[in-house]
């Protein structure tokens, strides 16, 4: 067998722990109340369109994108807006949320809620991009970057490949795996549509080799599509990082500080492809997503199809309740997810999983001296020297940190994962990135 492709430098192999891998997608019942964050994406906040006591249907526009990098938010349920409250979301801060009391199950006109598969799509690239914008599609891998912007190809740039990220390199998470098994055709139609929108000659779907069933099924169905290639990849974290995935699939390296379009690629998550299919073919805005609810002590790890705005607490109750021994709850995967401080945090467009960790797992070990073992250097997928960056940040040498390319860090956490001294490398690098970023911005202004 030919050696499977992967990215070149660095990378780690954390324990996979994909407990919910074989579980089918369960449709989670609509809760009594949902808390829809007004801003659920990377970029400028959206502006609120509803007020207290407004009646909304499923798919009603709740908040509108004003700025260039922004996204629309639609109502995931039908009911009445109870209030606009500030509650703590996954960012750890209080943000404006639209609290909707659920009444009935009324859909906005024009939304096709059936499961019939529509394959034909005769829209132009511009029309598709407009629909993505209108329906509030954002990157569903976790970064929540508004998708339509990726398809507004700048003048003079050609897109060779549309790259679909179905790698799911984060341990524990299985939501992408589940949709690939159950919504294979929808995803492939979605990929076809996105390929059209991007103008790419070919679509490459990268799937890690630990999901053999998904690879087989995707390959089978892809036969009836033109120019969509399913590419099994060697298992290695962080293969799902944009730049690493492009390197693995095309051998092209995105230059430092540049976007994938620089090397003729557009990258989207497989979940986004599914959402795009629903938006374009079924006129359905992004109002629900598949969330993996899992953990070592969780009774029944599951993949749930959840409406946006459902409190995390209800998902946890559904899979057998919060284990007694829980010390940390993470929104997302264990490598890049965010720890949340309470369970009222709602599911947003970017919530790929809810992970409960036991007390023993969640406590960090005391950091010791750096023994200069160079493990962090050898695992860094960006070819950085994390031990050095940490020292530079600690001694506030921002200029040297910039010279050592601190801004190239993709915050994958491989360095901190591998460190035998349990040093808080990424914490410090993040502080440094914030500071150096501010310095660079103020320099650009001058």
């Amino acid at each position: 067998m030919a050696r499977l492709k992967t990215f070149r430098i660095g990378g780690i192999h954390p324990e996979e722990n994909k407990f919910s891998a074989a579980k089918p997608i369960e449709v989670f019942p609509i809760p009594e109340k949902v808390y829809v964050p007004v801003t659920q994406h990377l970029g400028a906040p959206s502006s609120l369109l509803v007020k207290r006591n407004d009646t909304v249907k499923i798919g009603t526009l709740l908040a509108k994108a004003d700025a260039f990098i922004s996204a629309n938010v639609h109502s995931p349920v039908s009911g009445t807006v109870e209030k606009i409250d500030e509650i703590i979301d996954a960012s750890g801060y209080r943000k404006a949320n639209i609290v909707i009391k659920v009444e009935g199950n009324e859909w906005e006109d024009g939304i096709d809620n059936s499961s019939a598969i529509i394959k034909e799509c005769n829209l132009s690239a511009k029309e598709i991009t407009d629909i993505l914008k209108e329906k509030g599609i954002v990157g569903m891998g976790g970064a929540t970057f508004p998708s339509h912007i990726k398809y507004m190809i700048p003048e003079g740039k050609d897109v060779d490949y549309l790259i679909i990220n179905a790698v799911e390199c984060e341990p524990y998470l299985t939501s992408d795996h589940a949709i690939m098994l159950e919504k294979t055709e929808e995803i492939l139609i979605g990929i076809d549509i996105l390929k059209k929108a991007s103008g790419a000659k070919k679509a490459l779907v990268g799937i890690e080799n630990n999901k053999l069933d998904a690879i087989a099924k995707m390959q089978e169905v892809a036969k009836s599509f033109k120019d969509i290639e399913i590419q099994p990849l060697r298992v290695k974290y962080p293969q799902g990082a944009e730049k690493q995935l492009i390197r693995a699939l095309t051998k092209r390296e995105v230059p430092s500080g540049k976007l994938p379009i620089e090397v003729g690629c557009v990258v989207n998550n497989v979940g986004t492809a599914l959402a795009s299919y629903e938006a374009v073919q079924k006129n359905k805005p992004l109002i629900e997503r598949v969330v993996t609810v899992t953990g070592k002590a969780v009774k029944n790890p599951s993949n749930l199809l959840v409406r946006i705005g459902t409190p995390v607490k209800e998902l946890i109750d559904h899979v057998g309740g919060l284990p007694e021994d829980t010390g940390k709850v993470i929104s997302g995967g264990p490598m890049m997810g965010k720890a949340i401080s309470n369970l009222d945090v709602p599911v947003t467009k970017g919530t790929s999983g809810v992970l409960m960790m036991t007390k023993a797992e969640s406590k960090r070990k005391k950091p010791l001296n750096c023994i200069r073992c160079a493990k962090c250097v050898s695992v860094c997928p960006m070819g950085l020297e994390p031990y050095l960056l940490q020292q530079l940040v600690d001694s506030e040498r921002w200029e040297d940190a910039e010279l050592n390319r601190i801004m190239d860090c993709i915050e994958c956490g491989s360095c901190q994962f591998i460190c035998p001294s349990k040093r808080e490398l990424l914490d410090y690098i993040r502080v440094g990135k914030a500071r150096v970023g501010a310095i660079i911005r103020s320099r650009a202004k001058r």
Binding site: E86, I88, S91, G92, Y93, R94, K338, A339, S341, N342, S362, K363, R364, E424, D427, Y428, R430, V431, A434, R435
Partner: protein, 286 residues
């Protein structure tokens, strides 16, 4: 044996002489003519290089003083007014006194007042904790308790109180250099006038949330009720974003605001115990 010593002495002497000649010419060639005042003033400065004056170090501050020719808008917080009196004669200008200042921590979210809502377990860096979440107290503006300010202090004027989880300023050591003010990612610490007999009144809260939400996190939060604004006879208090602020230039330390504050968010320091309050309390009961 004797000849070896003689040769060594001669050789060393010759080398020494040649080096001296070279050094002389080099020093002539690269001579930098500098105002002698810079050296005099630099010697007077405290040599702490704390950056409290806003310049890179004491020497660059001395250069700035000499270039400007007076001390207007330039102040060394470490040396204070005594230093101004020393430097002014060198420049030949009149010494202008400045009100001495001190750093003030405007947060009283102790572990008792604002119980923990989460356990922080990452790098002991406020800058990082600030990117991660609102803080153990749940207050998005309050003290994170990791001690970036204490680490920034070069004068041993701060320490973290283990009991409360808040930084404490030792007023005898604080020179108001402002290092802690810049170190704090949440701008909690402020430089205020030290006040007569070290007496100060300030709002010990920077929370900008609505009163009800602020109170949910912290029992001593400023809820923006505005009672102090009405009570102040000198118009020293302003209310903005649900937060009261006392202008230390206008404040006459009458303590009326402290009495009316419903959440004890206004703090008075170093005042004698008040007898008046007990009497008024009795009157109110009647």
């Amino acid at each position: 044996m004797g000849t070896i010593i003689i040769y060594s002495v001669i050789a060393l002497a010759v080398i020494g002489f040649i080096s001296a000649v070279i050094l002389y010419f080099v020093s002539q060639k690269f001579k930098v003519i500098e105002d002698p005042k810079i050296d005099i003033i630099a010697d007077l400065l405290p040599a702490a290089n704390c950056g409290g004056c806003g310049y890179a170090g004491c020497r660059s501050f001395a250069e700035t003083i000499v270039r400007q020719g007076n001390m207007d808008n330039l102040f060394c917080p470490v040396g204070g007014n005594d230093l101004v009196k020393l430097i002014s004669p060198v420049l030949g200008v009149e010494a202008v006194e400045r009100e001495p200042q001190i750093a003030v921590v405007r947060c009283n979210g102790t572990k008792a007042n604002a119980p923990s809502k989460a356990i922080y377990d990452s790098a002991m860096s406020c800058a990082f904790a600030n990117t991660l979440f609102a803080g153990e107290t749940g207050c998005p503006n309050g003290c994170l308790g990791c001690g970036d300010c204490v680490a920034a202090c070069k004068f041993d004027a701060m320490y973290m109180d283990k009991e409360t989880g808040l930084p404490v300023i030792i007023s005898d050591n604080c020179v108001a250099c402002g290092a802690c003010v810049t170190a704090c990612p949440r701008s909690i610490i402020e430089l205020r006038n030290k006040g007569k007999r070290d007496r100060r009144i300030y709002v010990s809260c920077v929370n900008k949330e609505k009163g009800a939400i602020a109170r949910r996190n912290c029992s001593v939060a400023c809820i923006g009720c505005g009672k102090c604004v009405k009570a102040c006879p000198f118009d020293a208090i302003t209310l903005e974003n649900n937060l009261a602020y006392i202008d230390y230039e206008k404040c006459k330390l009458c303590r009326k605001c402290v009495e009316v504050c419903p959440t004890d968010a206004i703090i008075e320091l170093n005042f004698p115990p008040r007898r008046v309050k007990e009497e008024t309390a009795v009157v109110e009961e009647n």
